[in-house]
Assembly symmetry: C2
Homo-oligomer: 307 residues x 2
């Protein structure tokens, strides 16, 4: 498991570093011995900042053990909170410089607490200047990751993603969705799988993310943009910050468990703007219809082609 | 009460708008009828954006009634959560363009829930390039607001401010403090005051804030700064965002009670930066010793002069 997650981190860093061209990832290996109540463990935080393609991006591997499972780790199984646990995972957020390229996020994680284990993860996409064919490609990759495991898994996890990545105070989805799963193990109703199958699914999530996001970034990187689109991107990145600090369970888990703040907040954009009113009603009119929380637009059925 | 808060808002907008010179505040009056579970009320959100002195600032007046007091409104009196309530207040955050001038925050608020009422509020200062004499002036203003009401009120509320404006995940205070009070009424241990005195104190807080911040901004506005200081300011503003979205009870109260997001998030900086490591160890070495959470540096005893 640990070796496989290490390979996934390396593959992501190699692919996105090569795509950037100007900068590679700087890897910061860390280790922490537990101080009784605290967290013990190790990891490698890989960060790319101020690149040509990516303004900021991070791929973090962590393997931690804690005395008390924080509430944010297990919203659906509150009875496990307080147990000692082990958590392994890889988490990725890429913030491109160009507003033509969406921000993307992927996470895979494995928890065990005594005799209980579960997997979680998924990927989601946050465009600024959306292209329907990118969204279709993204959801096809999500469906491809799920298909070998259960005919209805994609539909279920896509719903989970729409529900999770939602900014209640804005009444807005964070992006165009993808898949999100939590508490997946042998006992999960309808979709339960033995450990080995869960593990394979986790790998498929990583592989599909890498391919799909790489394709979208390559397709959009040469498109021009101006001050107007840049301004809008910075404003929309404010929503990304709001989601991560107010709602994101991974971020709250990290902050609650006393993790390393700069590594946890690797998901923050390099630069974000706030304004009392949206700076661009036209670009809003283009983007907002894509943020289809709860409206269940079927991206797989769309007639749009590849980007 | 309402009239007095309206006057305070007008005075703040007039003073800071005049200080800016280039832009005045745009006032957005709003009204909301309750929809059963929701919030009813009215207010005036005054925002100054893209000014000469202030890059973004807001002075919000609100007068709302709700069916169920959200938990964030009353951390110290959880038994009141769920009651119907009325809340009136003025809230100010000013983000100057120059890193030579601190960001400032002031809030005064009055709650009633059935037969119970209480006041809350305070002001605090967040410098980027700190000047000791500014911090001394700020704390003298805080002490002056408190002195007529109780000999030990300043010390108590200063401690309250240090405790409240603290980013646990960073192990850092948000700024150099000031005063913070909550749940102040006739029954408050040691510092309890009848309604009229609480009201006078609230006015003194507004008046002292206006004077002290105006003086600091005037003293620092002509100082030069470069790309380096600007970059550091944007990075430190990231901490401001983190505090407001992760810890601030006023922000959480607003988001929980279904308020207007753009008005609640008026406190967000116009532009903020995140990086894996601080961009400037030297500027950190200058700033961080001022962030004296729990270390109780006595600013009133300092020999520093006026700015």
């Amino acid at each position: 498991m640990r070796a496989c997650l290490g390979e996934l981190q390396d593959a992501l860093c190699a692919a996105f570093g090569a795509a950037d061209g100007a900068r590679g990832f700087e890897k910061d290996a860390w280790q922490r011995t537990g101080d009784g109540a605290g967290l013990a463990g190790e990891g490698i935080t890989a960060v790319l900042e101020d690149g040509a393609l990516f303004e900021r991006g991070g791929v973090a591997l962590s393997d931690v053990r804690g005395q008390k499972l924080p509430p944010a780790a297990t919203a659906r199984n509150p009875h496990l909170a307080g147990r000692s646990y082990r958590a392994l995972g890889v988490s990725v957020v890429m913030h491109p410089r160009s507003p033509q390229i969406p921000t993307s996020h992927m996470n895979v994680r494995f928890f065990s607490a005594g005799d209980v284990w579960w997997f979680g993860g998924g990927f989601d996409l946050t465009p600024y200047l959306p292209y329907e064919e990118d969204v279709v490609l993204w959801h096809r990759a999500a469906a491809a990751a799920c298909a070998p495991f259960h005919a209805e898994l994609y539909a279920e996890l896509r719903r989970g993603c729409d529900e999770y990545f939602f900014l209640r105070h804005r009444g807005e989805a964070r992006g165009v969705g993808g898949i999100f799963f939590d508490d997946l193990n042998a006992g999960t109703p309808r979709f339960g799988m033995p450990w080995e199958r869960c593990f394979e699914f986790m790998r498929a999530v990583g592989t599909q993310f890498l391919g799909a996001y790489g394709q979208i970034a390559a397709a959009r990187r040469a498109l021009p943009f101006g001050e107007r689109e840049r301004r809008y991107q910075l404003y929309r990145r404010g929503r990304y910050v709001e989601f991560n600090l107010v709602f994101d369970r991974g971020t709250l888990f990290g902050l609650q468990s006393g993790g390393r703040s700069d590594a946890i907040l690797m998901s923050m954009p390099p630069l974000a703007r706030w304004a009392y009113r949206s700076p661009d009603a036209e670009l809003d009119a283009r983007l907002l219809p894509f943020l289809t929380h709860g409206r269940g637009r079927d991206w797989l059925a769309s007639g749009a082609g590849q980007p």
